[in-house]
Symmetry: D2
């Protein structure tokens, strides 16, 4: 049977979540995220993130979270600055534009964008005498980790946020794989740093241990107003909100979210090392759960006999592909992969 590394959302949820779902199944709770489980989960997140004043909302998926938050804070003529590789730019089917907001794309080699380029585009706009003919940059969107597995350092985030504040732009961080980023070797950020370094971010559950669900943390007071109306309007207010609260309650109890993330990050580094030992180039310098080796056609075919992985892009005459680990990855499967890489 095929051993699968093609994505980090092929399986269900951690046992703690499944147990809680079964155990609470017949409890009667208020709907729409106003139950005790949501309240408890929000409290635990605020406690760990050290942001008692934040608002925490639970949504079902990442695209939904991005479009609901961004459309809530943008005025019609404002635009979002993002990497051209950003998930909202390439893999959410124009969901932000469908809400009326333009994206201003910065070229990115590895998924990251820098404070300097952000400042340049913002400054170019605000110093233009006919600036109202163009959209006004209003928000910067980055992903942590990026879609390419790379990470921002604390210093990089600080610089980006400084630029944002200078030009009156919000900073929003897509944390679909936040756990894997935080658990990665070399990462110098903790959850509690995020409320100080951006206006809002979300903690991904779908790819990190949950059946589904993302926890949006709104730090900036100016972004909080009436957000539940937005949830409802965008179809993002789950009737049985308990299902979301309960999952994040489990994930943020006894460090579970981070424990499972470390598992994935560690196994990914084993895969990375196996490729490096074999002299295989990695397309991005990713310390997180996604690895992007650049393989020859023959190497691809060799591995494809036993393992599932994702195509990524052509690199000259070779092929970059993606291997993902997750909270659910079996260490034995990784060992088998490492062995196979050695035998390529």
């Amino acid at each position: 049977m095929m051993i699968r590394f093609e994505s980090d959302y092929t399986q269900g949820a951690v046992p703690e979540i499944m147990d809680a779902l079964v155990k609470t199944n017949m409890e009667m709770t208020p709907g729409y995220g106003e139950d005790e489980y949501c309240l408890k989960a929000a409290e635990k997140i605020k406690l760990e993130a050290e942001c008692e004043n934040a608002d925490v909302h639970f949504l079902v998926g990442g695209t939904q979270t991005n479009l609901t938050f961004i459309s809530s804070v943008m005025r019609p003529y404002q635009a979002v600055i993002c990497a051209d590789t950003g998930h909202i730019n390439v893999h959410e089917c124009g969901s932000i534009e469908a809400c009326g907001t333009k994206l201003l794309q910065l070229p990115s080699a590895d998924g990251k964008i820098g404070a300097k380029e952000i400042e340049k585009i913002a400054d170019g706009h605000f110093s233009d005498p006919i600036r109202e003919h163009a959209v006004q940059p209003g928000l910067v969107y980055i992903s942590f980790p990026t879609e390419n597995g790379t990470l921002y350092s604390k210093k990089e985030l600080e610089e980006i946020y400084r630029v944002c504040r200078k030009y009156g732009m919000l900073l929003y961080i897509d944390g679909a794989r936040l756990g894997y980023g935080l658990a990665s070797k070399g990462n110098d950020l903790e959850l509690k740093d995020f409320p100080l370094l951006c206006d809002a971010f979300y903690i991904g559950g779908t790819k990190v241990g949950a059946l589904f669900g993302e926890a949006l943390v709104i730090v900036n007071d100016s972004c909080k107003r009436d957000f539940r109306y937005m949830l409802k309007q965008k179809g993002a207010m789950l009737a049985k909100g308990r299902l979301l609260g309960l999952q994040f309650d489990a994930l943020f109890t006894d460090g579970l979210y981070h424990r499972i993330s470390r598992h994935a990050a560690l196994l990914a580094q084993k895969i990375r090392k196996a490729f490096e030992d074999k002299g295989i180039e990695l397309l991005y310098d990713s310390p997180t759960n996604q690895q992007f080796p650049v393989l020859t056609k023959e190497q691809c075919d060799f591995l494809a006999g036993e393992f599932a992985f994702s195509p990524w892009c052509k690199v000259g005459s070779k092929f970059a592909v993606r291997f993902c680990t997750s909270w659910a990855t079996d260490e034995k499967d990784v060992e088998r992969l490492v062995e196979a890489i050695g035998n390529m």
Copy 2:
């Protein structure tokens, strides 16, 4: 402890679903609704509904389903005709308008609208020489059952659909509580009638046995094109689509969906009869799982001591309230309520 009748989505899912979730938790499946479970569930629905050519898509919630389908088929200047009491008009926070589409509201006493009024508004528009100053009716939205628990007869649906086709309007049916409608005494429609009487409808899961989920059945070929793009754009494409397919697979195996619906409908009629026996007026003639007795302040207070129910509206000096049953309602709780009504 309070016995709760305030809504039909306070609890989790039927045991068959919970078992399947637990059992399949570590299976690896493709994402985004392209797994075997979704395929199987769609096949079962098409088989029972006798519409082999329909497209079936699974979404998470009702507001999401309504906005995704309607925004997919409307041109920018077209409008939706609906009852002023319709869910999209009053309880979805302007989600249809947020996608750019106006609602044309017909007054309704009991949640239903009639072919005659629909024809009048459509004819008024298309015969107006300056019609392009107004929106063009493009779709009729009705709910089965309505938000007030009432049902359309087969003949009424036939007449409405005839008017729709005459004026080139689509007919879309919101079936958030479809199971309860089909299972109700006096209902003369079966699931297989729906594909013949409308262009698209959805089969509600959230309120009828599932943790969450609605099955959208698109019958009219002209509405099918590229719908998966719409799902993605509106944040309605669940990453782990298996969770939806699996639930509808369970519900449409061995008649489970209908069996649990009959349970709820039957218990609701016991409640209704208890109110009638006591000489209490019911605001709407509802054969379904929602009952709306009109109570005095004293009667409200009396029942509120032991039972939870929802406020609805004032009726003169009295108060209409809502009692719901569901697939999860315990027969003993209904017996206790019946007894209490007798003692009012």
Copy 3:
């Protein structure tokens, strides 16, 4: 040849405007409303309206003005309260909804809505415990005069504005025919009252002496920010802005706007009196330039032989029709109409 009373925008502009257009034709001015003519016109309007701090913008037409302003100030989940007869509700092809905003319609017999009904709907919303399931009233739209020719008194406006401020809603007044309203017998409002009684309003030019153009006066500081971006985005920023500034400059020089408005209002009252003298019912009590007599089929046919007028609606077995005067109406044509009415 037919004598035409069917609308108030069938002809060009007052001679003063035509002269100015010809005279300035080859002047080179900056574009986009930043020329001297726009500046001068804005100053004259602010002077007469006694609102030095207001922002004045010039747009081409009424629908454009309504949609640009309203979409500028609404958050996505907010809604506009208006009369069901309101121009934005029935004759602007869903332009407000196309920008994402729902309209909450109050029934109106004569085009007006009252402070009491507005308060009721606002209060109903804000006191609803699950209010985020519905849209939030954010702005009240009224027309002065209304689409039916009726007028609000100063007291009525004061009451409406008081309710608006109580619930944090903006008040916006559509003044497509503002001149005719101000010039009408019985009107107790002056231009300078408007900045005190609403957050924004527009002074109609298209129907009152100009070739085209509306002057939007934004009084409330919170509505002013970045409005020129909105103008540009909605295609409402005229390249040769001079054309707009110059027209309003002419209209607001030496009381021209009011002088031509009085002419129209006066002639309309002659028509009204002729109908009344003949015992003909008028559908609305209109002191302005639109009159709505209720005629028999025979009376319609009789007048239609010599005069053009607009159909309005059926009233039992009779027909309400519309006669408009304008700044361009010839007094002799009115005398001929009065005579004909006498002879019906």
Copy 4:
């Protein structure tokens, strides 16, 4: 006094238009583009363009025309391919995105994009197995002339249109300066070629002799349906439509549109030659009415003493600037400029 070359819309209209406006001022015509002048103008355009079956609509400005047409033909998940320098991408304040549609930008050095790059992006999309995660290319937008003064050859347009049809994409041409392009030396296209080479295009009036106005020519039947609703909804239906019809009637009588365009194109080439004779580099190879010399700071200052022109962009340590001619440019002013360039 300053001699002004900074844009091509600083002045009013050709005398023929001014005369017609004055002469017809008190005529009573139906509103909203349904008058005889609009009819006549549309007929003349269709005759010259040899497209009897086309629909011709008159709008006030370019941004308005672009957003109204594009939003009329796009489904929500479709996107527009355009040059990154395209007017809709950089100078219309996100108006297309505000209608819900994403732009896919191709890098362009001189304002043009090629069939090959268009095919690559289209093919990349339609061959992607998870294509519904991204927007679907639905329309290609190009400008003739481009914003940089460059022109497509007939062969280039043919190749682009072939790719469009291959992938089911529409081709729409922004002709804000169409006249100047057609009148340029080296151009091998005539007006009658356009209906064969695209699905819709517009003939610019604002910059080519009119006070304002653009004539949208919809060739493809599938784009025609109900377009007048779109006009109304977007605030693009001028009440006194006569003003637009009359201007295009004048422009398309006796070849006026082309005669005035040739005037501008010819003068622009004199300016170009003067710069070339002086050894000054021109940023783009523009045969049309816009010229972009690359000047030193000293050269800029020298010319700025007597002439107004627009800043464009930095080129190394030099500055590209823009000089425009128009139908209204005085030949003597050009001679003076040529002389000054010689003396730099």
